[in-house]
Amino acid sequence: MSGPLLRIEGLAAGYGGAMAVDRLTLSVAAGEAVALLGANGAGKSTLLKAVLGLIPVRYGRLWLDGEEITGLAPERRVRRGLGYVPEGRRVFPGMSVRDNLEVASPLGRVDRACDLERIFALFPALADKAAERAWRLSGGQQQMLAVGRALMGRPRLLLLDEPSLGLSPKLAGEVFAAVRAIAAEGTTVLVAEQSAARALAATGRAVLMRLGTIVHDGPVDALPEHALREAFLGG
């Protein structure tokens, strides 16, 4: 396969007059696991939302596997292979775990059931709670559900926005173990995180953002120590 899976060129997006993402250019190859790091306000969330199409893009263009997706509605981008795990999980609270998972699948009943079993195998805790309403799950379980839900769409590129937010260290570890497993299966992963340590342990490439632009982009093992501190704490 030639060409990157995701290509972003000159992206500028944000709310109101502020450009939270400022003329950003980025390419992600198929199979990569990329950590998107930076302090709050750096633009990580905005970038992911812009890729998905949840916020309007001022300038710039986006391509998924060679096909342009700029201006396409979010639900159409998802059909083309994007998956999204939002900040704060946002599971459908009144729907059961099973319904949360099934609704995200575009396939027929039989294939859907198959995929459902795969997700339950990946997250056994969810299998136990299959009939439970999503609002009753704990934070960690909801995070698993949100990830599983995104996977039901059989995405080629999975976007995760701060998956460890609000979770205890143990649960955060479990979530990232799942992320590692997903990446190992071949799904391209782009995970935005404030908790740098976890993200770096699960990915191979680190992209640091500060104030809407990329300040560093390279393999995780080659990440200089000061770059990380600067991105977060300034100075």
């Binding site: 639900e75 998802v78 999204y84 946002r90 009144g94 099934e102 995200a104 009943r109 995104a150």
Partner: protein, 290 residues
């Protein structure tokens, strides 16, 4: 005996009201829009049945599918004209536009049908059945059965089909639903169609025993609102239960005092509920992303 008779009447009325409240709460959940025209849509359904009766000389039950389909089409028109163009605007805009639609429906009906009360044909026959000492109108039974089937149908649709899951997801978090591949705009249109179809069915059911006039919508929207308020704003089973309670209250008080008193007390109850929970029945007032 009289009490049981009243109970039967109350349940039949409640079944019809339940359909009104159901349509109202479905649209509310999917769009956060309070559809002021819901009561007038019920009236429209009733008059539609009245108009179709001479054309289709069959028992009312045969008119039901026709009314459902035509009302669903009306619902799509309503969504396209009064809701979708106003999506970015403050919620009061949609409220006013649905008021406008209600006005058009009400006065259109007045012009087409005149102000006299009309009756639609009964569902099966206008006869009565003896049930263990009670004389029960066949129509009452038919109303309860039809309403129960329609409600059960909605529950099945929402609980067991993929379309139903998508509708619920759209209602609970439209942005996230998009992010799961759900075509949200189409789902909203379907919801409006369902909501108006149910209103039409309620109109058909009510129009035989209770007659229908063009101005019937005003009271109905308030009753739908009370039902949803009592049952828990946004709760579908709650709306159904609330509707039943309203009907029982109405029938009970009407028989002891009078219909106007029943209505007045009902509204007074509504105001009392709102006063007792001034923060609105959601709980915390809508917070700005401060």
């Amino acid at each position: 005996m009289i009490t049981l008779q009243l109970l039967v009447n109350g349940i039949a009325l409640g079944a019809a009201y339940a359909l009104v409240a159901l349509g109202f709460v479905l649209v509310l959940n999917a769009t956060s829009a309070v559809n002021f025209a819901q009561g007038d849509l019920v009236m429209a359904g009733g008059l539609l049945a009245v108009a179709l009766a001479p054309v289709i000389p069959l028992p009312g039950i045969a008119l039901l599918p026709v009314v459902l389909v035509l009302m669903a089409a009306l619902g799509l028109v309503l969504a396209l004209a009064a809701y979708l163009p106003l999506r970015g605007r403050p919620p009061v805009s949609v409220f006013i536009s649905t008021i406008a639609v209600g006005i058009i429906l009400q006065n259109g009906a007045s012009v087409l049908f005149g102000p006299e009360p009309r009756a639609a044909p009964p569902l099966l026959s206008g006869g009565t059945i003896q049930l263990g000492g009670l004389v029960v109108a066949e129509q009452s039974l038919a109303i309860v059965v039809v309403a129960a089937l329609l409600i059960a149908g909605q529950q099945w649709l929402f609980g067991r089909t993929q379309l139903g899951r998508r509708l619920r997801a759209t209602a609970q978090d439209p942005e996230m639903a998009r992010a799961c591949g759900v075509p949200v705009t189409a789902m909203i249109l379907v919801t409006f169609a369902l909501g108006t179809a149910y209103a039409g069915a309620a109109g058909l059911l009510l129009a035989n025993r209770y007659f229908v006039t063009p101005t019937a919508g005003g009271d109905l929207i308030l009753k739908a609102y009370i039902a949803v308020t009592i049952g828990g704003w946004g709760s579908v089973p709650g709306a159904v239960v609330g509707a039943l309670l309203i009907a029982l209250f109405e029938v009970g008080v009407s028989s002891v005092l009078s219909y106007p008193v029943a209505l007045g007390l009902l509204y007074a109850t509504l105001l009392a509920i709102l006063v007792a929970r001034p923060q609105g029945l959601f709980g915390e007032a809508a917070r700005r992303r401060a």
